[in-house]
Symmetry: C2
Amino acid sequence: MTEYRAPEQDVVISSRVRLARNYRDIPFAPQMNQDWSGETIRRVNESMKDQQGDYRLVRIAELNKSERNQLVEHHLISYDLLKFEQFSAALISSGETVSIMINEEDHLRIQGLLPGMQLERAADLAFKADDVLGADGNYAFDTQWGYLTSCPTNTGTGMRASTMLHLPALSAAGQVSAVLQTVSKLGLTVRGLYGEGSDAKGNLYQLSNQVTLGRTEEDMVKTLIAATAQLADHERSLRETVREDDSMSMLDKLMRSVGIMGHARLMSSAEFMQRYSDLRLLAAMDIVDASLSEMDQLMMDLQHGSLNVRAGEKMSGQERDVYRAELLRDYIRGIATK
Amino acid sequence: MTEYRAPEQDVVISSRVRLARNYRDIPFAPQMNQDWSGETIRRVNESMKDQQGDYRLVRIAELNKSERNQLVEHHLISYDLLKFEQFSAALISSGETVSIMINEEDHLRIQGLLPGMQLERAADLAFKADDVLGADGNYAFDTQWGYLTSCPTNTGTGMRASTMLHLPALSAAGQVSAVLQTVSKLGLTVRGLYGEGSDAKGNLYQLSNQVTLGRTEEDMVKTLIAATAQLADHERSLRETVREDDSMSMLDKLMRSVGIMGHARLMSSAEFMQRYSDLRLLAAMDIVDASLSEMDQLMMDLQHGSLNVRAGEKMSGQERDVYRAELLRDYIRGIATK
């Protein structure tokens, strides 16, 4: 294996920390208007202009629907940012590890995003941007309550930390709901790939802190790291059990997926997520030699909006399934000849 | 396409002519015993010893179960020959185009077998051996009834002619049973891959003459050739209709089969026959570049008995599925890199 892997990337897809912040002298979301939203965007741009990272400003109103979805699919903005399309924007670093959503539910949602188990580094990225943006001391902050936010559930630290986990063995063993119960006792919650209410497509689960108040940021990150590590170990041990007890059936099932990905002419989004999960498991277990980072990137690139953007047009469902299958065949050929 | 193809091999797998003959001075099957069966075998051997074709004599009693099945799977002997195992034998030409079954239901069953639509040549092969074997004038023959046989349904010409057809488009269109009715009016019958009572695995159908009495051999061959040609044209036109109307779904379905064949770790016999049918259709339609003859050979080689013989041991069902999958992956790799 020559691939560089992020820490614990065999199970952990990515680590994310998001901070909610508001300016004290600008009305909160319910009273937002064109003038104030322009001022928020101006301030963020001004604060960050000398920072490293080659940031680009994206105004949601200037994007078509596919381009908006592409940003959501790549976890650079939230679905909610699209709700405020006349006001909202995002400042995104070229490496896409830092993204500052502007005029979502709060004036600022500062996000640090890294592959694998790198929650502390993701927090560092977010807090570094936070320090710059809040340097003037003009955040809405209360010494008793902490950071004030549009929705009270975010008040306090304003922080939401999350890890995205790939749990095919736990899913196959039907143990995910049991895990959910355990995890909720730690003040954590489990969601699907694209946040609240989304399905766990591709056996991907997002683990995040539920509570923002009454605990320090450091404490929350530590709790999440510990829970993630425990889940990852559980997943790994189940994978090894299957490998030892029933390796031929497992290999057969997973390798068939690779064969289908390399030959199908039509590939729906739902089927793709299942096959991606199979391939990722093979690569994570070092059975197939393929980069996990590339695979996770491809997974986002083959979602609806991203495919439309790549094709340069809005495609029909069938056209998208044809195009997805075509890109997938190219990718699998690339693995096979490596 | 550089492959040499037998005539109409895109639809017609093989052509076969089989002649039933008995010696007048040896008791028929119900009275057969060790001495007489030895005499039959001796006579056949003696008659054919100077003939071209490098014949080998196979005594059924000397073969294990897998070796017996291998000969059936390759259509060199019938299942029925195994019923008379203490007496029966076969003399098989090295090219496997002529096979003389000895002490089956009749003393002799002389078979000519060729790939594709070559019924007249297959008949020539059988009649050439028949001329040699009957040169002494000692066949049981009646001027009114013709060749006398153990079972009256074979009396007369003693000939059964058949073609093996690959009819995936007709099967998919649900038109096979309608075709059956039409064909029976011509005195023809349709069976599965391994004769009477066998399923049409792999969408393979054997078309043969039902009646042996009251028509000349030439007439029967002509009828079968005409019916085969009509069925083949019907199959071809349906294939083209699907290609024009729904080529993407068709390609998707068929190519997925190729992908699965190239990657599966477990392959049952039943699944293999379906996937072979898909691959054969792709090759017949010049979508995939692969030899039809090689593919049809492989189809026989991957049946139960043949696999055991190749492995040199009697395998369990699971072991056979693993071995079949392994040989299939090798074969698909060979196609892909051609």
